[in-house]
C-alpha cells in the first residue's frame, strides 16, 4: 500500500481537525482572567490537585508493577495465549460499575464489614471516600492492571515479536541469567519503552477521572477533577469558565509533572544502564508472587461481578444481612426499553472506522510523524472528557450537527481513535520490516503484502484495538450527552440519568448490560486473533 500523504487525510479530517478545533474552542472559553483567578483562589484547588496527582500517580505505578509481576507468572503458560480474553473480560466492566461493586465490597456497610465486623450497625470504617483517596487508588489499580497487562502482552506476544523475545530469553539464559535477571535486564527495558504511551494514558486517566472520584473518592476536598466537574455543571456561565480554567490548569500541571519525570529519567538512565549491564545474576523471577497477585485480582473481579449481579436483583440489602431482602427483576425489566442497538451500532461503526483510519495513517507516513498524532491522542484522553465535550459541542452547534447521528458518531470517534492509536502504535510500528521487504522482493504488490503477510501477523493487536475501541465507545457519556442535544439516547446516557436517582440496583443492572456487549467484543477478538500457526 503506497498511499503517501493522501492516506493521512481521512484521519486528519475526521479526527484530528475536529479534535483540535474542539480543544481550541474549549480553551477560548477559559480565556478570561477572572476565571483564572477564580480557580486559583478556589479553596479546594490546591488540596484537590494534590489528591488527583497522588491517587493517579500511585495507581499507575502500582498497576504497572502488578501487570509486570502478573506477566512474569503468566508468561509461557497456557493462560498467556488467552490474554485478550482474560484482560478483555476485566476491561469490559465499566469503571463506574466496578467502583460501585468494589465500593459495596469494602464500605462500612459493605460485604466485608458484614462478614468481619457484624453487629447491628456498620462499623466506623473509613474505607470509601477516605481523605487520602486510598479506595479510589485501589479501584484505579484494579481497573488499570488488566489494561496494562494486555498492552504488555500486545508488545510481547504479537507474531514476530514473540519469536524475537523468545530468542533473547534463550540467549540471556545461556549467558547465565536467571529468569528474574532476564526480565529485568532484557525484557522490561524493551517492553516498557513501547508501552510508554499506554502508561501515560493510564496515568492521565487516573489523575483526571471524574465519575470514579465522585463515587468512591474523597470529598472535603475532592480530587481537582471533581471540583472542575462541579464548576462545569454550574448554571452560572462565569462558574463554567472557572471550571474550564481549572481544566487547563490541570493539563499544565500534568505536562509539568511529565517533564519532571522525563528529566529525572534522563538523569538516572546512565546509572540504570550500568546496573543493567552488570553481568548475569541469579535473580529469580517473581513467579510465585505473580501467581498470588493474579489469583487475588481474579478473585476481586469475581466478587465484584457477583456483587453487581446480586445488587441488580435486590431492591434492598440493609446491614447486616448477608443476602439482600427480596428478589426483584424490576431493574432488568426497565432495561427492555434501553437503546441497545443505537449504542452498539455507534460502537461498532466508530471502532471499525478508527481502525481503518489508523492503519491508513501507519501505511502512509513514517513513524517519526506519529509523535504529532500521539500528542493529539494524549490530549484527547488527557483533557477532562467534559472539557473536550464542551468544545466539541460548540463546534457541532456551529456546523448544525448537534442532535444528529453524524454528530454523535464524530464525538464517539474522538476517544475511540485516541485509544486505538495508543494501543496499536507499539505493536504496529515494531513490526519487522523485513517481512514486507521479503514479500516485495518476491514481486507481490504492497497491498498484497499487507493483506497476506502483515495483516495476518498483526491480526491480534488490530482486533484488540477494535475491541478496546468498541468498549470505549460504549461508555462515552459527557460528549454524547451534549452532542445528542436530547434527540438521541445511548446506554450510558440512560444509565447515568437513572443513576442520578441513586437506585443502586438499577445502576448495577445497567452496568452489567454495558459490560455484556464489550465482553462479547473481547471474546470475538480473542477467538479470531489467535495466530494461524498455533
Amino acid at each position: 500500500m503506497r498511499l503517501g500523504a493522501a492516506g493521512t487525510l481521512p484521519l486528519i479530517v475526521l479526527w484530528a481537525l475536529p479534535l483540535l478545533a474542539a480543544v481550541l474552542t474549549a480553551l477560548a472559553l477559559a480565556g478570561s482572567g477572572a476565571a483564572w483567578s477564580g480557580f486559583l483562589h478556589h479553596p479546594q484547588a490546591a488540596g484537590g490537585m494534590f489528591l488527583a496527582v497522588w491517587t493517579g500517580t500511585a495507581a499507575t505505578v502500582m498497576a504497572l508493577g502488578l501487570a509486570v509481576v502478573m506477566a512474569m507468572a503468566l508468561h509461557g503458560t497456557a493462560l498467556w495465549h488467552r490474554m485478550p480474553l482474560l484482560s478483555g473480560a476485566a476491561l469490559a466492566i465499566p469503571h463506574l460499575a466496578f467502583a460501585i461493586g468494589f465500593g459495596f465490597l469494602i464500605m462500612p456497610s459493605g460485604v466485608l464489614a458484614r462478614l468481619i465486623a457484624g453487629g447491628d450497625a456498620p462499623p466506623n470504617w473509613v474505607t470509601t471516600q477516605d481523605p487520602l483517596g486510598f479506595s479510589l487508588t485501589a479501584v484505579l489499580v484494579l481497573k488499570e492492571t488488566p489494561f496494562l497487562l494486555l498492552m504488555l502482552w500486545g508488545v510481547m506476544a504479537q507474531g514476530d515479536a514473540a519469536r524475537a523475545f523468545d530468542g533473547q530469553i534463550k540467549a540471556a539464559r545461556s549467558l547465565g541469567h536467571a529468569m528474574g535477571s532476564v526480565w529485568l535486564r532484557v525484557l522490561l527495558p524493551r517492553v516498557l519503552r513501547r508501552m510508554l504511551w499506554p502508561i501515560i494514558v493510564v496515568w492521565v486517566y487516573g489523575v483526571t477521572v471524574v465519575d470514579l472520584a465522585l463515587v468512591i473518592g474523597p470529598t472535603q476536598p475532592p480530587t481537582v477533577a471533581a471540583v472542575i466537574w462541579a464548576d462545569l455543571n454550574d448554571v452560572e456561565a462565569a462558574v463554567n469558565r472557572r471550571g474550564v480554567a481549572g481544566a487547563v490548569a490541570l493539563i499544565v500541571a500534568l505536562a509539568g509533572i511529565a517533564a519532571l519525570a522525563w528529566g529525572f529519567a534522563k538523569l538516572v538512565t546512565p546509572a540504570l544502564r550500568r546496573c543493567l549491564a552488570r553481568g548475569p545474576s541469579a535473580l529469580v523471577s517473581l513467579v510465585k508472587p505473580g501467581r498470588v497477585v493474579s489469583v487475588l485480582v481474579v478473585a476481586i473481579y469475581a466478587a465484584v461481578l457477583l456483587i453487581l449481579i446480586l445488587l441488580s436483583v435486590t431492591p434492598r440489602w440493609p446491614y447486616p444481612a448477608l443476602l439482600g431482602q427480596g428478589v426483584g427483576i424490576s431493574s432488568w425489566r426497565q432495561l427492555a426499553a434501553a437503546p441497545v442497538l443505537l449504542s452498539i451500532g455507534i460502537a461498532a461503526g466508530t471502532a471499525i472506522t478508527a481502525l481503518t483510519l489508523i492503519v491508513l495513517w501507519f501505511e502512509s507516513v513514517a513513524q517519526r510523524r506519529d509523535r504529532l498524532l500521539l500528542a493529539l491522542a494524549i490530549m484527547a484522553l488527557a483533557l477532562p472528557a467534559v472539557t473536550i465535550a464542551a468544545g466539541q459541542y460548540h463546534l457541532l452547534l456551529r456546523l448544525g450537527l448537534t442532535g444528529t447521528v453524524p454528530g454523535l458518531f464524530l464525538v464517539h470517534l474522538t476517544p475511540v481513535l485516541a485509544y486505538g492509536f495508543t494501543v496499536l502504535s507499539g505493536p504496529y510500528r515494531s513490526f519487522d520490516a523485513r517481512f514486507v521487504a521479503a514479500g516485495r522482493a518476491l514481486g507481490a504488490s504492497r497491498w498484497r503484502v499487507w493483506r497476506e503477510v502483515k495483516a495476518p501477523l498483526l491480526r491480534a493487536p488490530m482486533l484488540t484495538a477494535l475491541a478496546v475501541g468498541f468498549s470505549v465507545s460504549l461508555v462515552q457519556y459527557a460528549p454524547a450527552q451534549l452532542a445528542a442535544a436530547g434527540r438521541y439516547s445511548t446506554l450510558p446516557m440512560e444509565a447515568v440519568t437513572l443513576a442520578s436517582g441513586g437506585n443502586r440496583s438499577l445502576t448495577a443492572a445497567y452496568a452489567l448490560a454495558l459490560a455484556l456487549p464489550a465482553l462479547l467484543a473481547f471474546a470475538l477478538s480473542a477467538a479470531f486473533g489467535r495466530p494461524r500457526w498455533r
Binding site: 490546591a46 448554571v235 440493609p318 452547534l397 448544525g400 451534549l482 436530547g486 440519568t497 442520578s500 441513586g502
Partner: protein, 397 residues
C-alpha cells in the same frame, strides 16, 4: 432596586398587551390546533422510575387527546438545559433542542435573567384557574424570584426528613433536637455536601432556624451583611459537625447517595424535597415498611417546581398544550397518588369541580408525613452563592 421593579413592571405590562388577546378561549383553540402534530421535547430529570413512568403516561394522554407527541429527554440536572439553550441562542440557532423543561430555583432565575424564556404564558393556560395562588404563594415566587408567567407550576416540594422508625423513635423536630440526636448517635447523621441542591437547602434551613429574625433573610444580601447574618448558622454547624458521619470531615456528594446510605443502614436520617418520596421508596421496596417521614415542627423550606418553555423552542404551542395538560385536575390528582409518583398538587381543592375535589384528599401510607408542618419561604436567592462559598471555605478543604 426600585428602578428594577419599575422596569420589570413596564416590561411585564408591555408583554402582557398582546398576551391578553391570546388568552381568549378562541385563541386557545388556535393554540391547540397549531399544536396538533407537533413533537414536544420535554427535558426532565429522569432519576426516578416512577416519575419517568408518569411522564410516559402523560405522553400517551396528550397524544390521544391533542395529537401532540411528547418525548421525554432524560437529563440529570436542569442546569444542563440552561447551558444548552444559552449556547444555542448565542449561536443563533432558532430551532432549539428543547420545547419544555422541568425547572425551578436558580436555574429558572438564570434563564429569566438571560432572557431565555418564552412567555409570559402560564397564567393564560385554561387550567391555571385551578391553581392555589392564595394558599401556595410559591407558585408565583420561585425562590423569591417573581415567576411573571414565565413558567407554569407543576408540583409542590417541602424539605422533609426520613428514617427507619424502628431506629429513630423520636424524630428530631428542630435543629437543636437534631444536634442532640447526633450527639447520642455519633457518626449516624450527615447531609449532602453543598452545592448539592439538598445540601444547600439544609444549610438554608439552618439559617432560617438559627437567625434572630428570619425576615432579614428575605432580602437581597451583600457579602458583608451575610457574614453577620450567617454567624449563628455556622456556630451551630461547628457544634454539629463533630458528631456527624466521619466527624463532619467527609460528606456524601449527593442526596441520592445519602438515601442509599440510609437504606444500607450507615446513617439514620436522610433528607428529601418530596414529602412523599419516603412512602414511594417503601412502595418500591427500597426502604422498610417501618420508615417514617417528618418535618421540623416550626416549618421547613417549601417551594414549587415548574415547567418552562425556552425562547428558541420549536413547538411552543405543543409545549403550552402539554403544560396545560400537566395542570389539569386529572393529571394533578394522578400525580399525587403515592403509587404513581406522590408529588403534591399545585391546585386548590376548593377551586376544583366537586368530583375532582373529593379525590384530592391526602392518603397516608407507610413512610408518609403524618404531621405536616408549615412551608417556610426560601431565603433570598442572593444568599445561595454566598452560603455555598462560605461553607466550602470553612469545611471544604
Amino acid at each position: 432596586m426600585a428602578l428594577n421593579l419599575t422596569r420589570r413592571a413596564i416590561l411585564q405590562g408591555a408583554a402582557a398587551l398582546p398576551f391578553v388577546a391570546v388568552a381568549r378561549a378562541g385563541d386557545w383553540a388556535a393554540i391547540e390546533g397549531a399544536a396538533k402534530g407537533q413533537n414536544v421535547y420535554f427535558n426532565a430529570w429522569a432519576g426516578s422510575e416512577t416519575i419517568n413512568a408518569y411522564i410516559q403516561w402523560a405522553a400517551d394522554e396528550v397524544m390521544r387527546r391533542y395529537g401532540v407527541t411528547l418525548t421525554h429527554v432524560k437529563i440529570t440536572d436542569a442546569a444542563e438545559v440552561v447551558r444548552r439553550v444559552r449556547d444555542e441562542v448565542a449561536a443563533g440557532k432558532s430551532g432549539g433542542s428543547t420545547d419544555l423543561v422541568w425547572i425551578n430555583g436558580e436555574n429558572f432565575r438564570a434563564m429569566k435573567q438571560g432572557k431565555l424564556l418564552f412567555g409570559p404564558f402560564a397564567e393564560s393556560l385554561p387550567n391555571f384557574k385551578f391553581v392555589d395562588v392564595e394558599g401556595k404563594p410559591t407558585v408565583l415566587r420561585d425562590f423569591t424570584e417573581p415567576v411573571e408567567g414565565l413558567e407554569s407550576p407543576w408540583g409542590m416540594a417541602q424539605l422533609t426528613f426520613f428514617g427507619d422508625g424502628a431506629k429513630v423513635s423520636k424524630p428530631p423536630a428542630s435543629m437543636p433536637e437534631l444536634l442532640d440526636f447526633a450527639r447520642s448517635h455519633p457518626g449516624r447523621v450527615t447531609y449532602p455536601a453543598p452545592p448539592d441542591f439538598h445540601g444547600t437547602t439544609f444549610l438554608k434551613q439552618v439559617l432560617l432556624e438559627t437567625a434572630a429574625d428570619p425576615a432579614t433573610l428575605g432580602v437581597e444580601t451583600t457579602a458583608d451583611a451575610f457574614k453577620a447574618l450567617s454567624e449563628p448558622a455556622f456556630a451551630f454547624l461547628d457544634q454539629l459537625h463533630p458528631y456527624l458521619w466521619r466527624e463532619g470531615k467527609q460528606f456524601p456528594p449527593s442526596q441520592a447517595q445519602l438515601t442509599q446510605m440510609l437504606a444500607d443502614g450507615e446513617v439514620l436520617i436522610a433528607i428529601t424535597f418530596n414529602p412523599n418520596e419516603p412512602a414511594n421508596l417503601v412502595a418500591s421496596g427500597r426502604l422498610p415498611a417501618s420508615t417514617i417521614a417528618w418535618q421540623h415542627a416550626k416549618g421547613t423550606i417549601g417551594n414549587t417546581h415548574f415547567v418552562a418553555i425556552p425562547i428558541n423552542a420549536r413547538a411552543k404551542e405543543g409545549a403550552q398544550v402539554v403544560a396545560n395538560f400537566l395542570l389539569s385536575p386529572e393529571a394533578q390528582i394522578r400525580k399525587e397518588h403515592l403509587d404513581v409518583w406522590g408529588d403534591p398538587t399545585v391546585l386548590a381543592a376548593a377551586k376544583l369541580p366537586a368530583a375532582f375535589a373529593a379525590e384530592l384528599t391526602t392518603s397516608l401510607a407507610p413512610g408518609s408525613v403524618t404531621a405536616p408542618a408549615p412551608a417556610l419561604t426560601e431565603p433570598h436567592a442572593s444568599i445561595v452563592p454566598l452560603i455555598e462559598a462560605a461553607w466550602i471555605e470553612r469545611y471544604g478543604a
